[in-house]
Symmetry: C2
Subunit: 176 residues, 2 copies
DNA sequence: TAGCCTTATGCAACAAGTTGCATTTGGGTT
DNA sequence: AACCCAAATGCAACTTGTTGCATAAGGCTA
């Protein structure tokens, strides 16, 4: 399961709480991973149960305690193992494509609305990418290769999004 | 849940058994949906329980009976409802991207192997797309718009795959 | 002052997807 | 003769992800 590995990576970069990780997912990691807080808290607890993480409880005045997680040696080893072996191919699931196979039953106004709404969402996504790029990768050549690596993922995200948008435009133009 | 809708669409196009659908998924629908036979059989049974499908059991000499499913009126209505409402955005999960965030712990030979293997898989995928295109969409302009619609999904699949490949090449060139 | 947002965590129930195993017969391979 | 593959279906147990709800305090807004 990749969520575990993603948690190990984010905590290896910097220890933090479930809430912290959720914020990172929402901000700079939005094109990498998304998960609900329930999933995070449950999985962090399991990782601790399996000895891959450990946590220190930091009491706070008038607020719930913060549980700051960090990797154990076993966690670090598990991460290395995961990195060394190639990922399994993820199954294809494209519900939007399925609609194209029911073209004659898909009302054309619903179609137009759905595609334009998606196009708009993709534009917002590109704006988010641009903001992240400005903030973190203003001058990629000035960074070390490890620092620059995440920038590659951002660039692919951008290009895939653009490819989607161009396709939507073509489909909309063809109309019917 | 989209699997239900995908089943309704495929059976609306032509009634069939779980096994039939599995073959369709493996062949022309591979870039749209993938599911295991267990998932299909269970879901078909549930759809029948919910009154969206009905089936005729066709006994076969010396083989398990074939259960040929087809849509009921309720199934047709459920499909129309699903088509009319826009899809929810699917959560982002890119485990490969996560590895880029652990660049310094990702052994460079493992990295090269993983990326080249992925590139090869994408080449195979493109070959599959080309084969489907030759067989079904030799002359897209000669088809009705409903017949041509699935061709769009194939074209986006191709372009996304090409975008991925170009990106992999760039990352590999940049090297360590 | 009533209601929502943020911080911070969690349980319980459910839905979706995976993995392992099982059946039955004919055909092809080693 | 022994083994695997294809056709065709299914159960059981498990993992992963979603949804709904709950707590608790302070700050902001209508």
């Amino acid at each position: 399961m990749s969520l575990r590995a993603v948690l190990l990576i984010t905590l290896q970069r910097e220890p933090g709480t479930g809430y912290d990780i959720l914020q990172r997912f929402k901000a700079g990691l939005a094109h990498v991973w998304q998960a609900s807080h329930q999933q995070l808290y449950r999985e962090l607890d399991r990782l601790r149960g399996d000895g891959l993480l450990d946590c220190e409880t930091v009491p706070q005045a008038e607020r719930p305690d913060r549980k700051v997680y960090h990797l154990t040696v076993a966690g670090r080893e598990a991460l290395d193992t995961w990195l060394a072996e190639p990922l399994a191919a993820s199954p294809v699931r494209q519900p939007l494509f399925a609609k194209f196979f029911a073209w004659e039953h898909w009302p054309s106004n619903a179609r137009r609305m759905e595609l334009t709404a998606l196009h708009r969402q993709l534009t917002e996504r590109l704006a988010t990418y641009a903001a992240i790029e400005r903030e973190w990768f203003a001058d990629p050549q000035a960074l070390t290769s490890a620092e620059r690596a995440p920038w590659h993922t951002l660039r692919l995200g951008q290009r895939l999004t653009e490819t989607w948008q161009e396709w939507i435009e073509e489909v909309l133009e063809e109309g019917e």
